[in-house]
Symmetry: D2
Subunit: 281 residues, 4 copies
């Protein structure tokens, strides 16, 4: 018996659930988890199923074929728990990478990491401790930056990478790279977006005197810090905290928020509805 | 067109979703919201649908009849937004009643209140301001208590009451009354259950030095403070707070927690799975 | 015996605590609560004391006089629990006013309200239920708006008002009025500032797909939604929530956040440090 | 210039603040942070100061001597940021140790760890990665258990250990050891105490159907899970979570709660007031 994940996106119309559940019955499957959403904003229907079935992939796909054709569905059939091939980009901050690697080893994050690619050498030891390949390439000047980005795409291609995670990677990606990775690159921003975009958000937060600071995991788009939001968390602070304190306090929120977003993405729980995300938690 | 709520509970078996969605299609309905859950603990399947349909109730029920019969389903078909007939019991504390009445008038809580029944006269003015009938009967001694409980059942019967809310009603209900109201009486307990059962939970919380205090909305059972939990919230406190401070601080959590539980129940989002609740938020 | 609140602000220098505590001893007082903060940003020292003393105000002030003179302190001596004279401005939304009035009557908010001034008549009944004078003046066009603002200042003058609360008052105050009320007018903004300034923040929040919505209580300044922040709260939402849902969900945060800010201000716990607030919670 | 921490505990009487601040002035110090609390429960006065001074320890202590004698104070003078000598006990679960070690290396946790002592070998690699000595001793049967406890006391003695942290150490300490380590051993319990004491709290939480799960850091006492609470956190869960899910979800709260408690203790912010803690955050 296999435990499948099935995600479906199509124009919203009557009868979809009946058609899909019929195909599942035809494939000898039993639905163990089901979530759906009809977006008023875009008229789109979203569905995520988990199905237990003794059928193989081919038979399952054959049962689905007429339904997905009739409704013009985008769809994905995957096996629950299959590790997602994930490239992680880092600079010098260790906390997000540490959390991803720790959770992955603990069996709480279904990803595999063919490579950690870094523009600084600092995190090599951490990656090695977890047995993950680490590659350092300096990014100084336009040429090295372009080379780094070519290397990203090369790794994506070579390892058939499904997700690129910017785990406090401190370089802005070029619009071309953003376009190439659209919908499969996740960044962690160390503020509660849309507040405090851009550099030094904790310094901005201190200057503004906010009473809560936060972190936002979002898809990378060429419009900096404006990509669809996947997850956000906040933590209370008070007037006694300097900007440097906020940096330390915010790290827990950053790492938990990023890890959560990566987990949901790896479990096929995150779907795009225009500039917004559907998250089937 | 009518917007329906349909809840279903039965033994978990394959094919349920397909069968139900087929009945919905037969009734000319379109599913706008769907949630389901299969309990590993009890082997029970739970489903809540919202369906838009131009069919009348009779035709809808006719379409459902063979499916609910085949699967031995408990089911309920209702109209979205229909106010639930709700009896509210109070003593002297105003905050929970105030929140229920305010939310109800603001159109944010689909209930109608045929009566507020009280063992103290204090809240008469508040009920009257919101145009809700108020009845005061002293509860001193066993005889008056029994009479009060008879009056509860009388009102439940007379107004076909669907939910009884104990909004800081400070009397313990008799086992007989608990049994009679099983699954349709909700209490707010002013602690984070299962901690601090019984009387004076804030004094207990102060003595124990907890760093968070909370409130719990739960179904009433004869096993005091042990009924299935519907909703819980907490708020941070520190060592400077006396027991009296905790009382004031906890009131926000009590009223928001109770109102939330009542709203979910009124929207048919709360189902019982043994000693636990399924809440389709 | 009187329970005093004493707040002090001056340039930060050594020896202040010793000097002040000496004055308290001289006045026969015992410090029951003490908080202080030295701002690195502005080099300012802030202190809030609660003192129990059998001395009258004159003697206490006499004991303080040489110290406050030596350090050039701004200071305020008040009696714990004295109700703050508070003018409340409203439009049509009831939830913030309802919470202020309910908490005030419950003895949990040390304010007295000589008047609720409104640009719509809707909340008259609510104010009357709580026995608070209510005055309605339409604000249509520049002239009526100017007249309304003159009336605000008149009431402030007449009743020696110490705080003006904008409890979802939906008019923008003129720069002149903002200046006149500087440091003693509090507004509730229905977003987590600095995100979603201006109109329709919940619609903006929905469009941006944020996963948490919030409310911000801040001092009113002529720079709209940029005044010093006093308190903020957030609540989790998900993709299923329309903008209208967010409005209802956000109301709890708005009213609790505003009431909290007003309570702290009334208890002399909020001090200004440039564009930031010190909150001695 | 040295940055000092000074904590003081004595019977509450008038004039303490003035006396202490006078001693600080005499020692040429400037108070940069000050917190105090008078416990109504026990009549005890608690104070924590941070003082910048160019005086050496001897001169500072000399200035304090008459005051602490007069008031019969328990007191501690320490240097801000001095790493606390901390012995960590573990079994097999890695998340708490991982967080302590990561935070310590990141400079966000002022402790030094002479030894990680374990009753299972699993976490050796993790300790070694962070360069911390690791010692494994099996605890099977009463004799080995007694030997393990003797070894704890030996290490405490040998390294002058100031704090023992039970980072998911799954053995119950003997009453004798609890007594020997009183006030300097911190445990993390994986529930929101006082709910779900004892073994398998997540299974209990699942069975009870709670809507929030939590973690509690508390001082170790011979009365299991009843020691004074230092910090607590909760996280929301719903009916879909099995006990095993709760274990994974709860780990973030466990590690952040324990690390927070250790940080506050290491910064001399945690004082005991009978069965409750004063936490000067």
């Amino acid at each position: 018996q296999t435990h499948w994940t099935l995600t479906l996106v199509c124009e919203d119309r009557p009868g979809i659930v009946h058609a899909i559940s019929g195909a599942v019955v035809d494939a000898g499957g039993n639905i163990t988890e089901s979530q759906q959403f009809s977006s008023h904003d875009t008229g789109t229907f979203f569905m995520r199923l988990q199905v237990v079935s003794s059928t193989g992939r081919e038979a399952f796909e054959a049962a689905l074929a007429p339904v997905v054709a009739r409704y013009g569905m985008e769809w994905k059939l995957d096996v629950v728990g299959r590790p997602l091939r994930t490239l992680v980009l880092v600079s010098t901050a260790a906390h997000c990478l540490n959390d991803l690697l720790f959770r992955q080893r603990a069996g709480q994050l279904p990803i595999e990491i063919p490579l950690v690619l870094a523009n600084h050498p600092d995190l090599q030891g951490l990656a090695e401790f977890y047995g993950v390949p680490f590659e350092h390439r300096a990014v100084v000047g336009a040429e090295l930056k372009a080379e780094f980005e070519r290397r990203i795409l090369e790794v994506v291609d070579e390892h058939d990478v499904e997700l690129v995670v910017l785990a406090r990677y401190m370089q802005i990606l070029s619009p071309e790279l953003c376009a190439a990775l659209e919908g499969r690159a996740i960044n962690i921003h160390h503020s509660f977006l849309p507040g405090f975009k851009g550099a030094n958000p904790y310094r901005q937060a201190h200057a503004r005197g906010v009473k809560l600071i936060g972190a936002t995991a979002h898809f990378v788009t060429s419009d900096l810090d404006e990509g669809p939001i996947i997850e956000q968390n906040v933590v209370r602070v008070d007037h006694t905290r300097e900007a440097a304190d906020l940096v330390a306090i915010g790290q827990d929120e950053e790492s938990r928020t990023l890890t959560q977003a990566v987990r949901w993405f790896a479990e096929d729980r995150v779907l795009l509805d225009g500039a917004r995300t559907i998250v089937f938690r």
